[in-house]
Amino acid sequence: MELFFQQTINGIMLGSTYVLVALGVTMIYGIMRLPSFAHGHFYMLGAYITFFLITLYNFSYWPALILSMVVLFFIGGLVERIVFRPLREQSQISNFIAAIGILLFIEHMVTVIWGPHSHRIPNPYPEHIYLFGASVSQQRLIVILAAVVLIALLQLFIKKTVIGFTMEATAQDREGAALVGINVNRVSSLTFSIACALAAAAASLVAPIFVIVPGMGSLLVMKAMVIFILGGLGSIPGAIIGGYILGLIEALGGGYISSEYKDVFAFGALILILAIKPTGIFGKGAA
């Protein structure tokens, strides 16, 4: 039972980062119909920025995390404005190629500037505590809780503010939203910005327990894509549930069946769900 509880916590912690990144991918897709493959690399960039704020400018952990979110918010907006907005009328494949281009550009730029080797943020909360027989480090608990807070804030923002309404309206019908006077370009920019800030938060949260390397977002973005499809394209509740489910599948499948097949379970779940329910868990059938 303790083992099960421990693996469940492991899974929820894994799922927390997945959710934050997958939410970004989902929001961008919802508004812009763009599979954002570069999202894992914005995540990586967020971790580097937090790292340099802490090591070079002696920021403490939380201010660095927030500032990193702010920086990524602006970088995200800029990328949307410079790269994706001019491609709006082009076919989807152009957007896709642009996303891959951004991915390669960010990774190689970071490798050239900061080198291929890994960096570490000193862990602000290294102690671990025991919860019902399971050992959890404080930082891992913080990751879990912070993810919940960020998810709740995002939901409040979308459901309770006027800007949130405009985002939802744009996601439902871009032309219709434009007709009623919503500035869809601004909404697109804002969505991209928020998504990148969420990725920066996720990366900064796990950076003290993992390591920062130029390729850190590559596998993660694949998992985020799985969640995004699994949850039903563009569905925010789907991304949240899907992220936690994927984390739990990996932890429980890897722990009880075979660690060798951990990623096989994750990607296998994608194939299975698409076979049973091609629109994903929360997919509505038609976009």
Binding site: L3, Q6, Q7, N10, G11, M13, L14, R33, P35, F37, Q92, F96, I100, L103, L104, E107, H108, T111, W114, G115, P116, H117, S118, R120, P122, P126, H128, Y130, S135, V136, S137, R140, V206, I209, F210, V211, V213, P214, G215, L219, V221, M222, M225, I229, L233, E250, A251, G254, G255, Y256, S258, S259, E260, K262, D263, P278, T279, G285, A286, A287
Partner: protein, 439 residues
């Protein structure tokens, strides 16, 4: 519905394309431009300089670059009165054998390399197939500790640089037995090298009377969270865990095991560097790594040349952001490059590959009194007599290193070597491991 299903079809295709795009060969690295006053000899290198194994590949390349700079600064190599300077030509292969082969073609045809260094076992294998083609011969400087490959892939133009890992397996297993440990859980890298290592270790361990309580894997290159495997391993009550792969993943596994409450010991694969891991762990390092058996940290080596080498390496690479710490890869590649240069002088040729290879036997031994690493000779199959060394961290401090000699054929040869080592380096704890292992 129509638009939706089109999008849905596009996505898996995008996933696939993204994977393929991530695997595209990047533009080649800049070569070191230098105007040759006299002749020029090109030493080639193909290895991972981007991607998850980039740091490992860069460390090895740094060693070659430093040796070449030192050799050129000391006047290059002189053959029949003609001076030659060395140049390193290097390309990134991301540890992908297909890219390695493209790089080999470039190195031979464009750069005219006479020898090519490679550091990844699976990339070296296809090179062994083509390095003896008439008119396109080249020497392979193979950096792999996988044992017996030099017999399985016998190649008269290949030199195998690091010590075979069997020496480490046996010495580490003996050391673990000495601690009274019997129950071992395995959480190692899922790659070919990690799996070969853990299978061999399991054989030795069980032959010694130990048990394997759990055998799990993790992708040390790609993954960052190993708590699933560690939790499952700990449920079997092991006294120590065999962990390892690249240092980054090894550090995360050790740290996460302690976070999950693991109090036993660790045995590292030889690829994982204890000094790198300790540096990355920061102030709690000695607590986390208590009761760890691993390859000795470079700074605790018995070689008197190490402090000076480390200082120069730090100035040249670490301070330039080209490395985190001096590693054995750098020291071994540095010393190997020197051997290659000496062999060219001894052979009296810069392009007769067979003569250069044959001359290597004559330029050995090279010792740790002069170089940052030592090679006592070379086996008939082409593996350099490279010295292995392990150490254990106990009670918050590094214990004195154990030095492994694997090439003596009998007790008398080993005794002679031990006596020499004690005379040369003072405090040495030598052990003898038979290689190839007696059946």
């Amino acid at each position: 519905m129509k638009r939706f299903s089109k999008n849905l079809l596009l996505l898996p295709a995008c996933l696939l394309a993204a994977v393929m795009a991530a695997g595209c060969p990047p533009a080649e690295q800049e070569e070191e431009e230098e105007v040759a006053p006299a002749g020029e000899v090109v030493i080639g290198y193909s290895g991972p300089l981007s991607g998850p194994a980039a740091e490992y590949g860069q460390d090895g390349l740094n060693g070659i670059i430093m040796a070449v700079e030192d050799i050129n600064a000391a006047g290059g190599i002189v053959i029949n009165g003609q001076v030659y300077n060395l140049r390193v030509a290097y390309y990134d292969d991301m540890a992908d054998p297909t890219v390695t082969m493209t790089n080999v073609d470039r190195l031979l045809d464009r750069d005219g390399a006479i020898a090519i260094f490679n550091m990844v076992y699976t990339c070296t294998l296809p090179m062994l197939e083509i390095n003896r083609e008439a008119g396109r011969e080249f020497l392979i400087m193979a950096y792999t500790s996988v044992p017996l490959v030099e017999y399985q892939h016998a190649n008269e133009l290949a030199v195998w640089l690091p010590p075979p890992f069997l020496g480490y397996v046996e010495t580490k297993a003996r050391k673990a037995m000495e601690q009274g440990w019997r129950r071992c859980a395995i959480v190692v890298d899922s790659g070919a090298y990690g799996q070969a290592w853990s299978r061999t270790f399991a054989q030795y361990w069980q032959a010694m009377g130990g048990t394997i309580t759990y055998d799990g894997k993790g992708s040390y290159y790609a993954d960052t969270d190993f708590s699933t495997q560690i939790t499952a391993a700990m449920a079997t009550n092991p006294e120590f865990m065999l962990i390892g792969g690249p240092s980054k993943g090894t550090m995360l596994v050790a740290e996460q095991a302690r976070e999950l409450g693991f109090e036993g010991g660790f045995v590292f694969l030889d690829q994982a560097k204890i000094d790198w891991v300790a540096a990355a762990l920061g102030e709690n390092a000695m607590e986390i790594l208590d009761n760890t058996i691993a390859v000795v940290a470079v700074e605790h080596s018995i070689y008197p040349t190490i402090p000076e080498f480390t200082q120069r390496y730090n100035e040249r690479f670490v301070e330039q952001g080209k490395a985190t710490i001096v590693t054995w890869e750098a020291a071994i590649q540095y010393t190997s490059t020197y051997i290659l240069a000496k062999a060219m002088e001894a052979a009296g040729s810069v392009d007769d590959i067979f003569a250069i290879r044959a001359a290597i036997n004559g330029v050995l031994p090279v010792y740790g009194t002069e170089f940052p690493y030592e090679f006592h000779g070379i086996t008939d199959a082409g593996r350099l007599h490279a010295v292995g060394s392990i150490a254990m961290i106990q009670d918050g401090a590094y214990q004195p290193p154990i030095t492994i000699y694997w090439w003596p054929q009998n007790q008398a040869e080993f005794d002679e070597l031990s006596a020499w080592a004690k005379e040369t380096y003072g405090e040495v704890i030598p052990v003898w491991v038979q290689y190839p292992p007696p059946r």
